[in-house]
């Protein structure tokens, strides 16, 4: 029987050919490209293959960090060492290697640093967020159609006039010893979570708007395992913690069809970075600077969009000697543009990443001189295609993208068919096939260029030069239907196949001195895997006061080699969430979020598990959160009380990570606005 690798290219060819066949009968697409998508407020499109979490969700569950959104997601799988930093992967893609992109108001913000997500480094406060969209499929309505997933954050437009927002939040995880510390019965102290504070001032005279925001957040490392690992690295008076503070400015100008948005921000984090290849936390001072803009202009028969950004990461030592100095500076420029002229889609992007570090080799870094090739990465991509309405209910897109970085060139084809089969029913088929460029923000990209992480053994990595680029095929079929009685059903099947990908393989041994792991890392640069699964989501609204949703995701490996098997076994095969919200007179809300996650295996920790607190298998768990939110003082004050993990399951998201128990989260939010305007 021929393998799937034979059928997939044929299926893609069939999709492309059928799409081309419709071009002859096509007419220009002037309608709303998101017409068949689920509607959300404040410019969030949603749609099959994406999960949207709105401002109401954020308020209802008392979320305080951007990364908290992974707690609500069914489709994306996320792990965490400390509960602050989260590593996430969209369905169908390997865990432990993040390649997804982040956008704020369509501005690309390079939040990833040496392969680690730094979502909380964004200078955006949670109460200024209109929605967070986790996109799992290539979305061809956006200038960049990432096949490795993307996170799109949309900030809410400020209220008319002058407005002020502020929030103070804190939490307490259980299991402090209390008086039993003196009787010998109690365990170690469990520190508080937070405090977290943020404030913003917004101006919106009508034609333009701007918001200045500031935020600080303390995250105390409360788990004894983490405390033992980190206390060996540097001397501090109290227990180790992560302190973040940020300032940011966002704004927009112009009407809807000619809107231009901008973002400027800076975040300083006294950080603890856990790299798998180091095996313990690395204390570091992290500075993240981002500035950028995006905009659109509609004209008769078409539309032009653009986005440009600058991002800089700097990592320096934090209370430790040079031996633990990551010594890393990375600058990132990115420009994207996209035009639609009748049925034609044209666009492209340019991305430049420059790294400076004394750990990039023995020679002093001189990015503009002889070693420039090793330290600056320039990526160019161009795409062209068609975007047509074959029938009033049938929209077809076909795109081909060419990309180049150095001597590496790639080509990728995309096709999507968006069909409204009836009132409230939509079918979306999306496929892509082609090369994948290495991640400019990835750790292995820089290790290949001789970067050395402190405390890490040398990583065995064969040079990728001369090797063909990894290839990825994606297929998604999504069905969205509005059923009677205000029930909405979303079904999606997905398929991912990779060839020639590279993934790390870790050999770990527990180190009783450092309480961390001694790690030998090898990067396998020829990984093949086939992965598939389904998403089912059922939403129901009973009048304006009660809404609930049930979501289910199943994903599994169909075939793959040993390296990919290890990467995918980390991902729980089944995830189920149930979320419900009950509103009383639009002033008092009761919410619950119930999550079931099946067990996962971490074969790379098997050798270390017998001598350390790390379990090579994470058991299944139920995570139940309940929250009450009360608006008062004419909506100027919102009180939120959330009990997370009320079943008190000892939950661990990573074998080397903290164990999380029940916690009480409290937040008070202030909102004031001048109704007079300007």
């Amino acid at each position: 029987m021929p393998s799937l690798t034979v059928y997939i290219p044929r299926a893609i060819a069939l999709i492309l050919a059928s799409a081309l066949a419709f071009v002859a009968a096509a007419r220009p697409q002037h309608g709303d490209p998101a017409a068949v998508r689920a509607p959300f407020a404040d410019g969030c499109t949603g749609g099959p293959g994406s999960e949207v979490f709105t401002r109401e969700d954020i308020a209802a569950y008392g979320l305080t960090h951007l990364s908290d959104v992974f707690r609500l997601s069914t489709r994306w799988h996320a792990t965490s060492i400390d509960g602050y930093h989260w590593a996430a992967s969209p369905p169908g893609l390997a865990a432990g290697v993040e390649r997804w992109d982040v956008y704020v108001n369509d501005v690309p913000v390079g939040t990833r640093l040496l392969g680690r997500s730094q979502l909380n480094a964004l200078p955006v406060t949670m109460f200024d967020v209109a929605c967070i969209e986790l996109v799992s499929v290539p979305n061809l309505d956006r200038p960049t159609f990432s096949r490795s997933g993307s996170i799109r954050i949309t900030t809410r437009p400020p209220d008319r006039g002058l407005s002020f927002d502020g929030i103070v939040a804190a939490a307490n995880e259980i299991n402090d010893p209390g008086p039993f510390r003196y009787t010998g019965d109690g365990g170690p102290n469990v520190d508080r979570i937070g405090p977290i504070g943020a404030a913003s001032v917004s101006v919106n005279p009508g034609r333009w708007s701007a918001r200045a925001a500031g935020r600080f957040a303390e995250t105390h490392v409360t788990d004894a395992v983490l405390i033992d690992r980190t206390r060996h690295l540097y001397d501090i008076d109290s227990k180790p913690r992560i302190d973040a503070s940020s300032i940011g400015l966002t704004g927009s100008v112009g009407p809807e069809d000619f809107r231009h948005q901008f973002l400027i921000g800076l975040t300083d984090t006294e950080d603890l970075l856990f790299f798998e290849s180091v095996g313990l936390e690395m204390p570091a001072e992290h500075r993240f600077v981002v500035a950028g803009g995006s905009g659109r202009a509609a004209f008769n028969g078409g539309r032009l969009r653009y986005a440009a950004s600058y991002a800089r990461h700097e990592l320096g030592p934090r209370g430790a000697g040079d031996a633990v100095d990551p010594d890393w500076s990375q600058q990132h420029y990115q420009v994207e543009t996209d035009a639609r002229i009748h049925v034609l889609r044209l666009g492209g992007g340019l991305r430049s990443t420059t790294a400076v570090s004394n750990r990039l080799g023995e020679d002093p870094p001189r990015p503009t001189q002889s070693h420039a090739g090793n330290r600056r990465l320039l990526t160019t991509r161009l795409f062209a295609g068609i975007d047509v309405a074959v029938r009033p209910q049938w929209r077809q897109q076909l795109l081909v993208e060419w990309s180049q970085r150095g001597v590496q060139r790639g080509i990728t084809g995309y096709a999507t068919a968006d069909v409204r089969t009836g009132p409230g029913h939509a079918l979306v088929l999306t496929g892509s096939a082609g090369h994948v460029l290495p991640d400019d923000h990835g750790l292995w990209t820089w290790i290949e260029r001789d970067y050395q992480l402190p405390l890490a053994d040398a990583v065995r990595l064969d040079s990728l030069k001369g090797r063909p680029l990894p290839r990825l095929v994606t297929l998604d079929a999504a069905w969205s239907s509005r059923l009677p009685n205000r029930v909405t059903l979303d079904l999606r099947g997905f398929f991912r196949q990779t060839w020639g990908d590279y993934l790390p393989v870790y050999e770990r041994a527990f180190n009783p001195t450092s309480h961390g792991f001694d790690v030998r890392t090898t990067v396998d640069a020829n990984v093949s895997a086939t992965r598939g699964g389904i998403d089912i989501s059922l939403r129901h609204a009973h009048g304006p006061s009660f809404r609930h949703a049930l979501s289910y995701t199943f994903e599994s490996m169909i075939s793959g080699d040993e390296t990919s098997r290890e990467a995918f076994e980390r991902i729980p095969q089944q995830r189920i969430t149930y979320a419900a919200r009950l509103a009383f007179l639009d002033r008092f809300f009761l919410s619950t979020h119930i999550r079931y996650t099946s067990a996962s295996s971490w074969p790379g920790f098997e050798d270390a598990a017998s001598r350390s607190p790390a379990d090579a298998e994470l058991s299944e768990y139920f995570l139940v959160d309940v929250a009450a939110t009360k608006r008062m003082l004419k909506d100027h004050v919102t009180l939120s009380l959330a009990l997370r993990n009320v079943l008190d399951e000892p939950i661990r998201y990573h074998p080397a990570g903290a164990v999380h128990h029940m916690a009480l989260h409290v937040s008070v939010r202030l909102h004031a606005t001048s109704l007079a305007g300007f």
Binding site: N172, N175, G186, A224, H515, S612
Partner: protein, 208 residues
């Protein structure tokens, strides 16, 4: 094991789930089912309650500590459904040995419950509380950690005798679990006075 705490294993058959429902929620339901909602308008009245508490059950603290004086002050009001309350309770625990310090505990809480009023002169309230249990240890004899806060969840049942439309006397029984490790379970018997007032219009507007 190098000072590391062992990772607790989940009980077989979702023991936590069973334990929670059997011990807490089921008990709450048993108590709350008899309650009915009195016809009400949210925040229309404010009731200020204050009284004394006697700790009648504190097995974990014995024999190292002896419960001392205690009292509580709370404000309650009709909510959209049932009654909501907020307040604080103070309790002192005197050391019985020189190995442990005296400590004062202050529980700041919010609560919710339902009231059954079979007659004008009598009502029965059942509810639950969630709050923070702050323990302040005697730092003079035991320098080091001065205080600690922990999540606390409680149940209460209370009988009010209405002397006048504005004045009640009541007795109450309360059970509190504070989520220290190990758990600190305490039961109290309370009594006190409650003054009930019509809420001023501005306060109703603000709270709504």
């Amino acid at each position: 094991m190098h000072g590391l705490i062992p990772v607790p294993k989940r009980l077989d058959g979702y023991g936590h789930l069973r334990r929670l429902f059997v011990r807490h929620l089921f008990l709450s339901l048993i108590i709350l089912v008899p309650g009915t909602v009195v016809g009400q308008s949210a925040f229309s009245r404010i009731t200020i309650s204050g009284g004394a508490d006697a700790t009648i059950h504190s097995p974990r603290l014995l024999p190292d500590w002896k419960p001392g004086r205690g009292g509580h002050l709370s404000v309650s009001t009709p909510f959209y459904f049932g009654e909501a309350e907020a307040g604080a309770a103070f309790h002192r625990y005197d050391a019985q040995t020189t190995d442990v310090p005296r400590f004062d505990a202050l529980m700041a809480f919010v609560g919710w419950g339902v009231r059954l009023a079979p007659a004008e002169s009598f009502s029965w309230y059942n509810g639950m509380r969630v709050g923070s249990y702050r323990m302040a240890f005697d730092e003079e004899t035991f320098p080091g950690i001065r205080n600690e806060s922990e999540l606390s969840i409680g149940l209460q049942t209370r009988i009010d005798v209405h002397l006048t439309p504005a004045l009640n006397v009541y007795i109450a029984g309360r059970y509190n679990r504070t989520y220290t490790a190990p758990r600190l379970d305490l039961a109290y018997l309370s009594g006190g006075l409650a003054i009930s007032l019509e809420s001023p219009e501005w306060l109703v507007t603000l709270l709504r």
